[in-house]
Amino acid sequence: MAQATDQRALTYAQAVNEALRQTMESDNKVFVMGEDIAGGAGREDQGKSDAWGGPFRLTKGLIGDFGPDRVRDTPISEAGFLGAGVGAAATGMRPVVDLMFSGFFGVCADQIVNNAAKMRYMFGGKITLPLTIMTSTGAGTASAAQHSETLYSLFAHFPGLTCVAPSDAYTAKGLFISAIRSDDPVIIFNHKLLMGRTAKSADMGQGEGFGVVVPEEMYEVPIGKAHIDREGTDITLVGISYTTIVCRDAARELESRGYSVEVIDLLSVSPLDSETILNSVKKTRGIVIVDEDYPRCSVASDISALVAEEAFDYLDAPPVRITSPHTPVPYSLPLEMLYLPTKESVVEAALGILE
């Protein structure tokens, strides 16, 4: 594993920012739009055109380098600007559109699921839609029911949409570059609790993840490929985005009890890397899938079904899903803590299989 160098131990947000900057520099068709992605638009005369740089600072500083033509603050019109992203992508541009919170999907669902997902197929393959949508997900920030959802499965449900969920700064940069270069519409889920973290502060253990250094040069993390975050032989834990960190924590705890744990960082929600999951389960004979999304019709359910259908004979115990409960996200702190998948619940589930 590479040694940490402070200079390149970027936060997730800085890594995304670098990916956007580099793709914009290398391809003048790439542009970004969304609510307050610059912030203070129309106030250039006051030097206040980059007030926010997006609600999570993913786009901070870009307007200064690329100007308001390529870094567009939008009115609060999700259907309008998501649809405009579809139209621009269909006619030669390569837009990156920010949907501030995944729950706002409801406002612009038509543009994503009826246009972005289906146009290429409906039109007999005569169109490409190199559209990237980025959105923030996750509970744990007291944002209550409408601003804390995960919703992977909603998007993954639709053929035609590619869905990726980075777990740290390294995978964020690589997946952003892959997504923007993809000719298909790609949705990137950025977990709110990850965006301020550096790979270093994620407390990555020996051999976990891709290491703490985010390379300065452009690189891709391949879409459709899960990453074996940590190798083991007794049980498989599958994490998606932030729950990969939960899985790592659980793996350490289980290791201290003498078990060898394999952690898979899913990275791509759609397409799903069935091969990596099945190969792991055939080796470990047990699986816990950790998904912050609602449990019903979820990615966790999808993986559970995959394992049950394709690797049944290898399993020592049924697959276990650790998810949020089938409730909206509550506001009150003790309830929100109860809502989220925890290391403890993962350890307990794993021990239930192992013992």
């Binding site: 609510e35 307050d36 912030g39 006051q46 259907a79 509550p330 506001y331 109860l338």
Partner: protein
């Protein structure tokens, strides 16, 4: 840095407000409610700084808008709010003890601690809920108006939304529906000049929201949202029109958000201190306070008494919230469906 800033005072001074239509008692009530809102919001900020209150959008500066409008409302009328709705709730008479408890995540809160700052609701009091998705409550208000009409009442519904929500298509769908069906709904755009960090002169084609009513065959008016007297008196025709079954009105109240978009956010990253001072000099509470004294509606001691009373009530709300318990774990699973309530 240039000290110039853009001032957009699109409302015009209009003579002839009929002060006979507003009695002294109501004016003093307005003052008391506005002071309560301000003190409550300041207390919320303190509670947030203490780490007890987990995030909020402050309504300081915008108190006059809902207070003036809600002065017309009666039992059975509904208001609906948005992410920034503490002032709407208090203006409609929602209990501030229960509000503070909600904001501290306690089981005695308006929403049993499950909604928080963006979702305060008190149906019995006529507050049909705040909503964190911009524009999302506008059609719901239209539906409440449809219900009021179909049930044969003369009740109205009022929806408060920001200038940012004027970018959402659902506003125009709702205005059209309300107009063709002559629904008793009042669309109140609180133009506080910023949608998060984006100034309205950038985001709103044509420079105002109210003129968009014309295309939907309904009145559209601008009101000085810093004057509670103007808010009340100039909203009268809209309320009467709705109660008489003549249809909706769009009101654009020109106001100013003193603080950042959310607690702790620094608005001077996208606007100047000079601009803030300009608008704060026209403060809505200062205005009504001066009016009450200058017109000898009441004495200074009366105002002091009201201010002290509001202060005590706000203090008590914190005590009520502090003394309340957090919800039990089982509350997480309740109220997803009626069957598990």
């Amino acid at each position: 840095m240039a000290t110039d800033f853009i001032i957009i005072d699109i409302y015009k001074e209009e003579p002839g407000l009929d002060m006979q239509k507003i009695d002294d008692k109501l004016l003093m009530q307005f003052f008391e409610t506005m002071v309560t809102i301000r003190l409550f919001e300041e207390e919320c900020r303190r509670q947030a700084d203490l780490g007890k209150l987990r995030g909020m959008h402050s309504s300081i500066g915008q108190e006059a808008v809902p207070v003036g409008i809600c002065g017309h409302l009666k039992e059975g009328d509904y208001i609906l709010g948005n992410h920034r709705s503490h002032h709407h709730c208090i203006a409609r008479g929602v209990d501030i003890n229960e509000m503070m408890a909600e904001l501290l995540g306690k089981s005695t809160g308006t929403n049993r601690g499950k909604g928080g700052t963006m979702h305060i609701a008190d149906i019995d009091k006529g507050m049909l809920g705040a909503n964190g998705v911009v524009g999302s409550n506008i059609p719901v208000a239209t539906g409440a108006a449809l219900s009021a009409k179909m049930r044969g009442t003369d009740n109205v519904s009022v929806v408060f939304f920001g200038d940012g929500a004027s970018g959402q298509g659902v506003l125009y769908e709702s205005m059209n529906l309300a107009s063709i069906w002559k629904l008793p709904v009042i669309f109140v755009c609180e133009n506080n000049r910023y949608a998060e960090a984006t100034p309205f002169e950038y985001a709103i084609a044509g420079g105002n929201v109210s003129s968009r009513a014309e295309g939907f065959d309904m009145p559209g008016i601008q009101i000085d949202g810093q004057s509670v007297i103007e808010m009340f008196l100039k909203a009268t025709p809209a309320i009467e029109r709705a109660r008489n079954g003549e249809g909706p009105t769009l009101i654009e109240a020109l106001t100013y958000r003193y603080q950042g978009h959310f607690g702790g956010e620094n608005p001077q990253s996208y606007r100047t201190k000079e601009e803030e001072e300009h608008y704060k000099s026209n403060d809505c509470i200062k205005q009504i306070r001066n009016y009450l004294i200058e017109e000898e509606v009441c004495g200074l001691d009366d105002l002091t008494r009201l201010e002290e009373g509001a202060s005590v009530k706000v203090e008590q709300s914190v005590k009520f919230a502090d003394d309340s318990s957090f919800p039990d774990d089982k509350a997480l699973y309740e109220d997803v469906y009626i069957s598990n309530s």
